[in-house]
Each structure stands twice: as structure tokens, then as C-alpha cells.
Symmetry: C2
Subunit: 126 residues, 2 copies
DNA sequence: ATTTCTGCAAATAATTTGCAGCGTT
DNA sequence: AACGCTGCAAATTATTTGCAGAAAT
């Protein structure tokens, strides 16, 4: 696991996440690719999503079923309690937020902000 | 499922989470209670944790393995990438944070802030 | 040639659920 | 008596892993 080699599958997985605005799960990425790439395997999707996240090319989001985001620039996420969809919320990274954690002696690599509630669409529709 | 009735198990589960500072998982709560309550079942622990969270008596935290917090008052959490422990970070609920999500038409019930990094103890020890 | 990466399938981990009987009201 | 809650165990879902062969360098 020292040198990274090119792989078609990894490239496809990466592009799929980047092209999606759904903050897809591993299953969603798999389902999107499977039709055109019938021998892609789910294990490969998991392995590459985690690898890409470790490398900082994708961002892994804190949900009970893991989700990934191709937009690495700082922003937060909203999760609707009705439809379950995850959507972006603009917002610069606020280093001020980290102050309280640093004050406790922790080294903060990053933080995640997640909003929960009823999304605009479900509000209108229901 | 209309009327709520008292149950010894629920009470024990609730008190266990409240008394803990570990932000315990279902397994942790189960392990803590099992010795003194040998016929407690894990399913009951899961059911009651979720029920208590729905009622607002506990707070469910956004980690891949679900964790619960008996301290309902606003504060955030730090998760150490080495030891995996979750600890409290003081901090009032900042309604300003919700502004961006509201601007998109979402109804925000609450938000969670989670810090990731190296905790004070692991910094010292490693 | 070497070593990473893949597909497959089985293993593991986490959570949920059906059901018969117990406990609370 | 009515019905919510429990224990048990099986089912489901999510994720990880071992391995033999294919692909990249």
C-alpha cells in the first residue's frame, strides 16, 4: 500500500461522487456505476471511497450510513428528517468555532456542522 | 404505542447514559447494565435509547456507531482520531449558525458541531 | 517482475424486528 | 382487561476482509 497506482474503478468512483449533488452513500455510487460497469464490486467502491477520503479528495460526512462529498471546499450540510436528503449549506470555515476545543488542549484537524430539520421542499410539499 | 408506561429497564438505561461521560453506544450501556441485570436484552437497550432520544431526554450524536448523551444542554463534541473517545466541548448554541440553512428555506430544528483531531491525552501520550 | 488493485464471497458488526408472555395502568 | 414493554432469536443492513488473479508501473 505504498505507491498509489491508477485504477479505472477509482477514477469512476471519484467522478461519480464529484458529479453528484446527493452526497451519495457507497450503495448509491455502486448503483450509479453498476449498469455501465457490470463487474464493478461493492467492496471496491467502499475501499476507494475511504481511500479517496483519506487522501482528502473526498469528504466523508458524519451520518449513520456513511456519505461522501466531492466538494472539498468548506461548507456545511442539512439533513431533512422527512425525506432524508442531505444538501449543502454555504458557509466559510469558521476557525473561531475551534477555539473552545483548542482551549481544552485538543488538536483540531477540522470540524463538521450538520443541521437537522425539515427541508424547503418537504415544508412546501407537506 | 400510544400511552407511555413506566419500565424499570428504561429508567436504568436513562440513568446509565446520564451518569456516563463517555457518550456511550448501545453496546456500552448494555455492558454496563448486564452484570447487575442479567436478563436485560440488547434489543431493549436500542429501543429505549431511541425512544428517549425521540422524547428529547437524550441526545443522539452523529457518529458511525450511534452514541448518546445525557447532557441535553447545548454543547459540542470532540472525537479523537487515535483513541476514538468522544468528549464534551463547552459552547452555547449559536443561532447565528442556523442562518445560512434558514436562508435556503429549511426549517432548522437543531444543529450538531463535531470536532475531529487528536485529543489532549493522546497528544501528550504519543 | 513487482506489487497494487479488483471481483467475489464470506465474515463481521450494528441495528431492527416478530412474537409470545410479562408488567403497568 | 387492555395494551405497552421485554427477552429472545432471527433477520436485515452496513461495512470489512481474505484470497487468487488481473492490471499498472
Amino acid at each position: 500500500m505504498a505507491v498509489r497506482r491508477y485504477s479505472r474503478q477509482r477514477e469512476l468512483i471519484y467522478q461519480t461522487v464529484r458529479a453528484s449533488s446527493a452526497h451519495p452513500t457507497a450503495e448509491m455510487v455502486y448503483a450509479a456505476l453498476k449498469p455501465d460497469h457490470p463487474n464493478l464490486s461493492l467492496g471496491t467502491v467502499y475501499r476507494n471511497l475511504h481511500l479517496l477520503a483519506r487522501e482528502g479528495k473526498l469528504r466523508q460526512l458524519p451520518f449513520p450510513v456513511e456519505r461522501f462529498d466531492g466538494m472539498v471546499a468548506p461548507h456545511s450540510h442539512f439533513c431533512c428528517r422527512v425525506c432524508g436528503q442531505v444538501s449543502d449549506v454555504a458557509g466559510a470555515y469558521d476557525p473561531e468555532l475551534d477555539r473552545a476545543a483548542r482551549a481544552l488542549g485538543h488538536q483540531v484537524d477540522r470540524h463538521e456542522v450538520v443541521y437537522y430539520g425539515l427541508c424547503a421542499r418537504c415544508r412546501a410539499g407537506g
